[in-house]
């Protein structure tokens, strides 16, 4: 059952990602991205990360993608034109991606024993567990990240403000 759901939503995620690249209209691409985000949420749920799954839906599929769609609607962006692609992408991009994928896959496969694995649906991280780790063991990184985000917001406001 768990494996079936994993395969279903993994395929949905990959299909959405492919569709995101292949679609020519920006709004279709944005909608495919929503599909990708939501199926990732289901995969998180399968691993027992219930809070993370719903946060993914609320923050990414909900708030951020609504803003994406909002901007596309506001600019009324048309269909993009097809190009043949750059030579650099063919020569360096595709081999580079393949090499990176091979390195990552082999690293994960060799380190699998020392990382320790989990079975799908075998454990549950409740919101309480998550916040205990986040606010006790990882308090400093958490606070530093929040300051970073605050700085980013201030930067966006400064950039967006009109000169008088």
């Amino acid at each position: 059952m768990n494996v079936a759901i994993f395969i279903l939503f993994g395929l949905l995620c990959l299909g959405g990602a492919m569709n995101l690249l292949l679609q020519r209209h920006p709004i279709n691409s944005a909608l495919s991205l929503i599909v990708v985000m939501s199926s990732l949420a289901v995969l998180y749920l399968l691993l027992g990360a219930e809070f993370l799954a719903l946060a993914q839906i609320i923050v990414y599929s909900g708030a951020i993608m609504v803003l994406f769609v909002f901007v596309i609607m506001l600019l009324n962006a048309g269909e993009e034109e097809r190009t043949h692609g750059s030579r650099a992408a063919y020569l360096a991009g595709i081999p580079g991606v393949l090499a990176l994928f091979t390195v990552l896959a082999s690293t994960f496969l060799t380190l699998r024993i020392s990382f320790g694995g989990t079975r799908l649906g075998s454990f549950l991280v409740t919101t309480g567990d998550l916040s205990r780790v986040l606010f006790r063991n990882l308090l400093l990184p958490f606070e530093v990240t929040s300051v970073l985000i605050l700085v980013a917001i201030l930067g966006a406001v400064v950039l967006a403000r009109k000169e008088h």
Partner: protein, 348 residues
């Protein structure tokens, strides 16, 4: 055999809840027309059936038999998808709401479809997805009024969702759980005195929730997405027949869901306002159904408030709406969260 009974009972439960919910949606429309009629000193629908009680049936039949127009310049896939997203998101949320005590029959919880650890977050998540129904309908219609309506609506919903989310944080802090049953059980002890809105000192949060909920459901005084005097009908201008009916049903279903959530979070859910003041009476059946009665009564009074506000308040201007959400509601909500956590840290 046991598995079979379990599955059948669950299916039956889902079917019954869905049918009751859809009937409630239909009769909320009638309630609104009747009450607004009385507020404006006229009768409202009174011709179909006794007191106009069969009016929803006639309305539904009319919408079902209308021609389904498909304008030529629309973006067809999204034009069809948008009302489906709107209605399904409006109908899903009812699945996590508890409307009675945890009474099990053959291992099936009779008064809640799904009891989730993160029920509250599921409701927020479904609401945030529901924005797409309105956003896409306006864009795919290829009509300037629709587009303006949906732009307003998505901006409004995203802005007020922050205040909505922050207003319920106080409740979660008090309960220490995102499970809706836990939230109700905490308010279950001393009747009205232990409800979050009174005993929990969350009346500020309740006010913020009310405002944000009115904005989230696009109701007066925040119904700018369909302001008829400037936008014809807003995002559903180009829709007809059942597609229009789906938007219409989604709006009223959202009203009911928001009422259910307000009841569960702030008004003690299914618990009686008298607590244990009166001795238990009647058989087990009465004792099982009495909480459902209290729940329905609370949701009904919330819907009554919705209609009352629509009959009394004029519409906000767009900049007033945004200013109110960002400059007043959001800071007040943050202060409320801080105050609640300080009190809980020193006394909790």
């Amino acid at each position: 055999m046991n598995i079979l009974i379990f599955v059948l009972l669950n299916l039956l439960k889902v079917a019954v809840v869905t049918v009751i919910f859809l009937m409630a949606v239909a009769y909320t429309v009638l309630l609104e027309r009747k009450l607004v009629g009385r507020i404006q000193n006229r009768w409202g629908p009174s011709r179909v059936g006794p007191f106009g009680l069969l009016q929803p049936l006639a309305d539904g039949l009319k919408l079902f038999l209308k021609e389904d127009l498909m304008p030529t310049a629309v973006f067809r896939p999204l034009f069809i998808l948008a009302p489906i997203i709107a209605l399904s998101c409006a109908l899903i949320s009812i699945g996590v709401i508890p409307f009675g005590e945890n009474i099990r029959w053959h291992g099936v919880d009779m008064f809640q479809i799904a009891d989730l650890n993160i029920g509250l977050l599921v409701i927020l998540g479904v609401t945030s997805i529901g924005v797409y129904g309105i956003a896409l309908s306006g864009w795919s219609s290829n009509n300037k009024y629709s587009l303006l309506g949906s732009l307003r609506s998505s901006a409004q919903m995203v802005s007020y969702e922050l205040a909505l989310g922050l207003s319920v944080v106080g409740i979660v802090l008090r309960t220490g759980s995102l499970r809706l049953r836990d939230i109700v059980n905490l308010q279950n002890t001393h009747g009205i005195l232990s409800w979050n809105v009174f005993g929990g000192f969350q009346f500020v949060a309740f006010f913020i929730y009310l405002c944000a909920a009115f904005a989230e459901t696009n109701r007066t005084p925040f119904d700018l997405p369909e302001a008829e005097s400037e936008l014809t009908a807003g995002y559903h201008t180009e829709y007809s027949s059942m597609k229009f009916a789906m938007f219409f049903m989604a709006e009223y279903a959202n009203m009911i869901t928001v009422g259910c959530v307000a009841t569960v979070l702030f008004l003690g859910g299914w618990s009686s306002p008298f607590g244990n003041l009166f001795p238990a009476f009647g058989g087990p059946l009465v004792q099982a159904l009495l909480p459902v009665f209290w729940f329905v009564l609370k949701v009904f009074s919330f819907l009554f408030l919705y209609v009352w506000v629509r009959g009394t308040l004029p519409r906000f201007r767009y900049d007033q709406l945004m200013g109110f959400g960002w400059k007043y509601l959001l800071p007040i909500a943050i202060v409320n969260v801080m105050a609640t956590s300080l009190v809980l840290a020193f006394h909790g």
